[in-house]
Amino acid sequence: MNTATPVRFDNVNVGDALPALDLPPLSRLTLALYCGASGDHNPIHVDLDFAKEAGMPDVFAHGMLSMAWLGRALTDWVPLAALRDFNVRFAAITHVGESIRCTGTVTEKFEHDGERRVRVSLATTNEAGVQKLLGEAVLSLP
């Protein structure tokens, strides 16, 4: 939820960390719910038989579930309407049982299209610090 005091461009510095978002250990129920809610019905994320046939030891998370969590971390910090760009690379698979942390760091402050914007680097990591998603976002700040 957004804090009462909006994040302002003048109060943000390169190197500032966004509040981290910590997720509970990933459950199969979450994968089933995300399968239905997202409309991504690829069986590899929910059907163990299919996953094994495809050469995977188990079902695993949709990359876009982790990106949705990163989106939550962003919109916990700034209003949804502040988002201009949001890009990720899916670097490693997120497994059932892993506890994922979403983090972000301000890397640049600039002006574009008459707006004051910040660039934020983003990552999701498991409890061992292994990076799963890497990305960045551009946000417009008042």
Binding site: G36, H62, L65, M67, A68, L80, F90
Partner: protein, 152 residues
């Protein structure tokens, strides 16, 4: 090998209605507890005309294509060997429950790495609303593993 002739190919455009129930379900599935994403009153109190579409949900709406397998079938991609490599969004304006969004997909690029062991398909999708306003652009990179080429 994926036929490079499909670079620049556009898919038939389609429209998808943004439904409040799906947005509530998505909020639940992603652990989003901010009531702005699930309760009409909270959304309106925050200045939205209806439940807002969260940052990545446009990708889900894109999957509501009347034929979600259209690009896979066109390019001959095997479901079991596909990975989602990258995903990006550029936002121009917000979308809300009740909007009807149009999706125009284009195959932007096809290329390979590691001697063909990995092939990449870049898809760009333009999203506009029922007023013809530009809402967003999506960029997705799908990776196809070609295991028989991995030793090459």
């Amino acid at each position: 090998m994926i036929d490079r002739k499909y670079i620049g190919h556009t898919m038939p455009p389609f429209k998808v209605a943004v439904e409040a129930g799906r947005l509530r379900f998505f909020a639940k599935a992603t652990g989003q507890t901010d009531p702005v994403y699930s309760q009409d009153e909270a959304a309106r109190a925050a200045g939205h005309p209806g439940l807002p579409v969260p940052p990545t949900f446009l990708f889900c709406l894109e999957m509501e294509s009347p034929d979600p397998a259209a690009i896979r079938n066109l390019l001959g991609l095997d479901y079991k060997r596909l990975l989602h490599g990258e995903q990006g969004f550029t936002y121009h304006r917000m979308a809300h429950a009740g909007d009807v969004l149009s999706f125009e997909q284009r195959i932007e690029d096809i290329y390979d790495k590691k001697g063909g062991a990995l092939e990449f398909v870049v898809r760009k999708t333009r999203v506009s609303n029922q007023r013809g306003e530009h809402v967003a652009e999506l960029r997705g990179v799908t990776v196809m593993r070609q295991p028989e080429k991995e030793s090459a």
